[in-house]
């Protein structure tokens, strides 16, 4: 996979930003995103989920960083709330790019909406370009659909963290990893069962049985944890697959521990 390592001045040859445009080269639309931000996200963030944020200073204000979070909810609200948290609370609000499964690019309607809202297909080359060349913030959910499709009884138990691809991407870009523990999304839209025939019919990734047609007003708590620098292991650490797996496991363990700690503190699902 050495093709992901571009020569030094590749960054200098990035396309210039055309100020007249409202859509980026990734397909992200300022207008659509702004509209959601002002209406739905604003409401969900302040009034519905009453998001509380801790450790926002762990999100660097310059340079690329890879944000890693737990993932839950049939229609996961966590990504948009993390993005909103950075816009609301950070000293230097930055745009967040979230990596989404390739499924979203292929599904009509979602394809259009997800990319306009800042979703980028989860391809290693995309993550590398965003982190290394464009020096942006990227949010990944290493659990992927395994996290969102899990049933309510398995809540807050992290699934397998993929194959450690996110660690490799961060190492190649020499970007820090910021783990995030997020409490509340599991209860906002829990899944009680899956309906396979309907899933086949609609060709969605899953077709869940949920308690309500919308989000339940669970209290959200987002904790940004201390960043893990990825330039501490010398040259080309990504060739050491053992190290990659170890780091991935460490990130997972940190988030899991933090989740247990936060759940122990939580008195009520709805009031926090």
């Amino acid at each position: 996979m050495k093709e992901l390592e571009p020569a030094a001045d590749h960054r200098a040859h990035l396309p210039a930003i055309e100020p007249e445009r409202q859509v980026t080269d990734w397909g992200r639309s300022e207008r659509v995103e702004g509209f959601f931000d002002r209406t739905l996200y604003e409401f969900l963030y302040h009034y519905w989920f009453r998001v509380e944020v801790e450790g926002i200073e762990h999100v660097p204000s310059t340079g690329g960083a890879l944000l890693v979070s737990n993932h839950a909810g049939a229609l996961p609200p966590d990504a948009s709330m993390i993005a909103k948290a950075i816009k609301e609370e950070h000293a230097r609000p930055r745009n967040l790019h979230l990596t989404v499964e390739h499924f979203f690019k292929g599904y009509p309607g979602l394809s259009l909406l997800v990319s306009k809202l800042g979703g980028v297909p989860a391809h290693p080359a995309n993550v590398h370009r965003l982190l290394h060349d464009e020096e942006e913030l990227v949010l990944v959910f290493p659990e992927g659909a395994k996290g969102t499709e899990k049933l309510y009884k398995d809540r807050y138990r992290l699934r397998r963290f993929g194959r450690g691809g996110f660690v490799e991407s961060a190492m190649r870009a020499r970007a820090p990893i910021v783990p995030i523990a997020l409490v509340g999304a599991e209860e906002a839209m829990p899944i009680f069962a899956h309906v396979r025939p309907l899933q086949k019919l609609t060709r969605l990734i899953y077709f869940p049985v949920i308690p309500a047609p919308g989000y339940l007003p669970a209290k959200f708590r987002i904790r940004f944890l201390e960043p893990i620098p990825t330039d501490q292991w010398g040259e080309e650490p990504w060739n050491d697959k053992g190290l990659v797996q170890t780091v991935a496991e460490e990130v997972r363990a940190r988030i899991q521990e933090e989740l247990y700690a936060m759940l122990a503190e939580r008195k009520s699902v709805w009031l926090g």
């Binding site: 093709e3 571009p6 020569a7 001045d9 590749h10 040859h13 990035l14 396309p15 210039a16 055309e18 007249e20 445009r21 409202q22 859509v23 080269d25 990734w26 397909g27 639309s29 390739h102 499924f103 690019k105 292929g106 599904y107 009509p108 309607g109 979602l110 394809s111 259009l112 990319s115 306009k116 980028v120 297909p121 391809h123 290693p124 080359a125 995309n126 370009r129």
Partner: protein, 345 residues
């Protein structure tokens, strides 16, 4: 001093490139081959009507001591030729051209091959920006794409076997310009820009002048390897529509799209297979390698679309203008060789 052979002289790019090279004093001789007459006026380019038979091409290459071969023949739009002819041209033709350039005694030192971004295909799990080293994640799904992949691979194979020859492959994204007639330009000329419901694909368009410019750049410089030729800026189709001042009309259904396009072709709107895939998934190319080699795109994708919009607005006014150039062998030969023609020297 260089002596250039252009294959596919009758194609738009072949002709334009020849015109461009003619202005260049350092280009000593320009020979163009094609099975059809050139479509633009040429001063000193010599036209030979010949297909891609390798023995004939080889004789031309040796006799004229050609050192640079620029292959612009590739068919990149399946609406322009039937599948069989496209296969013949793209796969067999490329093989023959390469055979004519190879060999230990060949005078050829440089081959420039005009390839296409169809090499990368359009898939759900594509990266958002293809770089030159990336391979498509799945085997080609359309005949045109598999022919282009085969041709491009043959060129890479030729480059590996002939280390003394500088082989440049330029993979162009979709071209757009007032004089370029492609499936895309026809779709964008409709009263509304058609699309697939629920999709707003990313697309890149290179201006026709930049296509010629990139080929010229590759002919004049030593650029071994593969280069993506796509300008800065990746637009979404709805953005293209608004630049053209037209509504974006996603009228094709997301499921059963191929049936719908078949119905559309009955009423004269042709959406070839490879374009259909682009309308669904879109494609973006990383152009930094070509930019690093010193090439400057004159227009971004956005400016290319704007220029195309201007050309569309002018089109009804221009139609009554002068008749297009027609190649007449006798006239051309008279003008070129007759002692009676006064040349300013």
């Amino acid at each position: 001093m260089s002596r250039v052979l252009i294959t596919g002289l009758s194609s738009y790019w072949g002709g334009r490139l020849a015109q461009e090279l003619e202005k260049d004093e350092s280009v000593e001789a320009i020979v163009g081959v094609s099975t059809e007459d050139p479509s633009c006026q040429l001063e000193r380019t010599e036209f030979v009507r010949v297909g891609t038979h390798h023995a004939l091409l080889r004789r031309i290459v040796h006799a004229a001591e050609i050192d640079t071969v620029i292959d612009t023949r590739l068919i990149v739009d399946s609406a322009t030729a039937p599948a069989k002819a496209a296969h013949e041209q793209n796969v067999i033709g490329t093989m023959n051209v390469l055979a004519a350039c190879g060999g230990p005694d060949s005078p050829v030192r440089k081959v420039v091959f005009k390839s296409s971004a169809h090499y990368y295909g359009c898939e759900r799990d594509d990266p958002s920006f293809f770089t030159e080293q990336m391979r498509r994640p799945h085997p080609p799904r359309t005949r045109l794409e598999s022919d282009i992949v085969e041709a491009d691979d043959a060129v890479q194979d030729f480059a590996a076997r002939n280390r003394h020859v500088t082989v440049t492959t330029l993979r162009f994204c979709n071209g757009l310009g007032p004089d370029l007639h492609t499936s895309h330009s026809r779709l964008l000329s409709l009263p509304a820009v058609p699309g697939i419901l629920g999709f707003d694909p990313r697309c890149q368009f290179i201006h026709e002048d930049d296509i010629v410019g990139a080929l010229h750049h590759a002919a004049m410089n030593d650029l071994p390897g593969v280069y993506n030729a796509a300008p800065d800026g990746v637009l979404v189709l709805s953005e293209v529509a608004s630049l053209l001042g037209k509504p974006y009309a996603p009228l094709l259904p997301p499921w059963g799209t191929s049936l719908a396009t078949a119905a559309w072709s009955a009423v004269g709107i042709r959406v070839p297979e490879e374009v259909r895939r682009q309308l669904r998934y879109g494609r973006g190319l990383d152009n930094r390698k070509l930019k690093m080699s010193g090439f400057r795109f004159s227009l971004t994708t956005r400016e290319t679309v704007q220029e195309f919009a201007a050309a569309l607005r002018l089109a009804p006014l221009r139609e009554s203008g002068e008749a297009p150039y027609r190649y007449e062998r006798e006239v051309e030969e008279f003008l070129r060789w007759s002692p009676s023609v006064r040349r300013d020297e």
